[in-house]
Amino acid sequence: MFVNLFQDPVNAAQGVAESVPQNPHAPAQTIDAWGQLPKLASTFGDVDGLFYFTYAVCIFFFVLIFAALLYSVIKWHRKTYDQPAASNVTHNTPLEVVWTVIPLIIVMVMFAWGFKGSLDMTNVPHGARQYKATAKQWNWTFSYPNDPVQSYGELWLEVGKPASFLLESTDVLHAFYMPSMRVKRDVVPGRYQKVWFQPIEKGEYHLFCAEYCGDDHSKMYAKVHVVDAVEYAKRPWDQWDDNNPAKGGESRYKALCSSCHSLDGTPLTGPSWKGLFVKDASGAIVGGQRDVFVGGVKETITVDDAYIIESIKNPEAKKAAGHEKNAMTAFPNLPDREIHGIIEFMKTLAGK
């Protein structure tokens, strides 16, 4: 780790394409075995190195202080009420200089190391794949390089390939946090942010929102799959199957709708989807009855495809009774096939 510190600050800073850093560290599992950090899955090993170095320094000083206190209390505790102090020394200039200068040196080392490590994080290598992550209360949408299909709540990356993310928020602050990759960046509404890393271990990882963003902040989660080149080439994020639209609809439900709409009748911010479609006596799936407010007037309607489509694209038109005060995010640009898939998914709920 110390050697790293004095190497060329960062190759990537010069934008040399072939100098994408290789993982110089021990296999991640060994760090994980005893470590206090999650398994390292990117090239930002400097974070771990500096963390453990600082940790060791802290433990050293803590033990020093603790031992001195313990020893003093045992040796010099007051036995009689008039016992004077064993010494009345008020200062010791050399000692005070020492304990001013030594910490100063140590923290300057820490700064230099942290600075070097963050340079790596700042400079995106040329040839990194350009992804885009859009944060929105309370889900993530990912766009892939030169690919029209987006994924919601799940992300696929290829192992060993640097990935650069353009971050965009359409409402409030969020933060793009992948503990295993050691990256975090706030997603600031109104302007783009950038973050990059190079995954070096296959596996599944957490992507959290780390900046408080409202009610379902803690549910703003995405699963990140780091896969090999073969798997990645299959474009696993494109899961749409025209033969089984309900499956795609379910995935959209999980990504876009589940934070406000339950399937089992539990009241959330929005109305539950239970009973949207029901089975009639013959077992055929038909629309259920709903009380809605249209322009403030309450009426009962029979659910049909048109109502669902309208509710997705323009939720303010008909407000479900009991939820008329809650605003739903509109999805005017959701592709028709996906809306269709969601409706198919709703129909599978009939009779459950």
Binding site: T122, E168, S169, R185, P189, R191, Y192, K194
Partner: protein, 146 residues
């Protein structure tokens, strides 16, 4: 009064100083400025105001803001030194008031430096992105109509 305090020098009180007549020693060594000086300061301030206005009519490019701020600082210094009597005030009062400007400058320096260096920065892009519930300025609507 104790000898240790900042105002120790003023510890001796009125007796023997009545000759000054204004009794300012009741309140510490207070300087009573002359009316003429106040009038001069006022005239200087008014002239500087005219200069500010005049300078703003001429285009110095980005230096205009700097010039305006420089003149304003001179005016402020006049008000502080003479109208506010800081010139004759105790050291601690001077330090207190001037340090407020010092600490304020920290807020300015770091905040503005962050903003200014962002455009040189790959990570903190300054490119504007749309925000949900897009608000379109009425003038842009007018612009689109044209």
């Amino acid at each position: 009064m104790s000898a240790s305090n900042d105002n120790a020098g003023h510890g001796h009180t009125a007796s023997g100083h009545d000759a000054h007549g204004h009794g300012e020693l009741q309140m510490g060594h207070h300087h009573v400025s002359s009316s003429a000086m106040f009038l001069n300061v006022l005239i200087a301030l008014l002239i500087l105001t005219a200069i500010t206005v005049g300078a703003s009519r001429i285009d110095f490019g980005s230096a205009n803001l700097l010039i305006a701020m420089a003149i304003a600082s001179v005016k402020a210094s006049l008000v502080i030194a003479f109208f506010m009597h800081v010139k004759w005030d105790t050291a601690i009062n001077k330090i207190v008031f001037l340090s407020s400007f010092l600490f304020l400058s920290l807020l300015f320096i770091f905040t503005l430096a962050d903003q200014a260096t962002r455009r040189m920065d790959d990570q903190a892009l300054t490119t504007k992105t749309p925000v949900d519930k897009q608000w379109v300025h009425p003038s842009t609507l007018a612009e689109q109509k044209q």
